[in-house]
Subunit: 307 residues, 2 copies
């Protein structure tokens, strides 16, 4: 068995980016933290931490970090089952009342547009510390497959091995641009495939296929237009409203700008509905039950039925 | 000299994530694109692209990609100086009127909170395709040092070699939480150092030092509280309003929730002002002049004087 205090030191460094902050967090001297990491690295036989600013995990370090998180969750699940309550946090002895340092930490992969629209309030449902990883809905389930998160919101409807999968609903996207942009690039005739090849579009990152999927659905043509690259959901709406480009924005996020006529829908009869699913590891199914329930309920209120 | 058509194929693949989409973008067959990459890789003597989904650059590939972008910008700067206008885009011959495919692409590193508040409308100033990289304000200048971007918004006031540096103003942050959160975690006595050690806070990522800096400024104590991890500016505000944790939010972003009393300022006399600077590479100084001017003006309207 690895020494839990060494594992805790590793987690604290990787979460907080430095030996110094980890030491403060754990109430230890910095040399005590260094010593724990040295012993852990000797036992594993390879460096676990890249001493950069901030500190990062080596490949082996990332694997050991996952193991440390896993142990903590498993113990929490055991305590829940036995009804013996939460373990006091490392520094919690002597304090009275609530202390979030004893809460279990759960890592979840979520797509940026869910995070920007409906997802967050659901997390207020339980006493957890959430560590959110943001990735494209077509790739978020990969984090679960690699064992790097405990739950994910993904467009994949097929359950990942060892996980349950619940349908959440469809997030509706509208192709939007500013009225000035439409006049400049599409003119009287409105949006055409030729216009789309010349007009600047917005792309979230290299994983973002939404603009192309919409063009295929709306016009049956593939899209090869020039693009801005903009990895932020809110900035996507702002950039469309500022006339930088056209892009696929979640209906809810675009609604205020649409109401104020700072944005216009490019083809009103042609929204793009992206189905979303909640994947959750069976190893934390009971522990996460209140979160799962809150996520499903929030999704039911905010999303459309899956086509 | 490297073959410009081979460099264009590399850029198109890395920007769009696949050989197939690059081929469509360039109006070529996929095998023609593969052939260009093969020849380029033979010339360099090492693989340039990792054939994953999406395709990513090897270390050498990233270097050649930067070179390709640099060439394009240099030529654009030359054309501006000679007054001979823009090069037509690869597919633009035969089309009439505006075509954004001929616009130069400029990569800029920007901190998430500037992107979420005041930065974007400034980009509507010129005919560029922007490729935004988001990083912490304490680290965004590193992208410029590494030559991976042409401009950056950074908290660093010292010019990077080969770059100009203009002061923009200070982005004001407020320590905020929901009223329920304050009652639960801080109670009658209000925020205290002891309360901050027990209450869950919000942290953007391992580079985010704002919560700690505020606690040091407000109480003279270092912070080692439990934290949620949440890499999104808007989600930071939403999470605070949902009662998940307290965190440093930009004044402008928190304003609506503060006005609706969904958020409360933790210590009203203790904001945190973060000075920001615009760094721009001298190699594109003239070309970028309209953008620089728009950024400086937008900052003057949105930010506070640097203390």
């Amino acid at each position: 068995m690895f020494d839990p205090t060494q594992l805790a030191a590793l987690s604290a460094i990787l979460r907080n980016g430095s030996f110094e902050r980890a030491a403060r967090l754990l109430g230890l001297t910095q040399s005590a933290v260094s010593q724990r990491i040295r012993l852990l690295e000797e036992q594993v036989g390879t460096p676990l931490i890249i001493r950069s600013q901030p500190c990062r995990a080596t490949e082996a370090g990332a694997r050991v970090f996952r193991h440390a998180e896993e142990l903590r969750l498993l113990e929490q699940e055991l305590r829940t089952d036995l009804g013996i309550g939460r373990e006091p946090g490392a520094l919690a002895s002597g304090t009275t009342g609530a202390d979030a340092r004893a809460w279990p930490a759960v890592r979840i992969a979520v797509n940026a547009d869910s995070l920007a629209t409906w997802f967050l309030p659901a997390l207020a449902a339980g006493e957890f510390l959430f560590d959110l990883v943001v990735d494209d809905q077509d790739h978020s389930a990969d984090w679960l497959k690699r064992g790097e998160v405990r739950a994910a919101i993904s467009s994949a409807s097929r359950p990942v091995q060892g996980c349950d999968c619940l349908p959440l609903g469809a997030l509706r996207y509208l192709a939007t641009a500013s009225p000035d942009f439409c006049r400049r690039w599409f003119g009287e005739e409105g949006v055409t495939p030729a216009g789309l090849q010349r007009a600047p579009m917005l792309t979230f990152n290299a994983k973002d296929r939404l603009q192309s999927r919409w063009a295929e659905q709306a016009f049956g043509t593939s899209l090869a237009g020039p693009s801005h690259w903009l990895p932020s959901s809110q900035a996507f709406v702002d950039a469309a409203a500022a006339g930088l480009g056209w892009g696929m924005n979640p209906e809810a996020l675009a609604a205020p700008a649409l109401a104020e006529r700072r944005l216009r829908v490019l083809k009103a009869d042609c929204p793009l509905d992206v189905p979303l699913y909640w994947h959750v590891s069976r190893s934390v199914l009971r522990l996460m039950q209140p979160v799962t329930q809150a996520v499903v309920e929030a999704a039911r209120r905010a999303l459309r039925p899956i086509p």
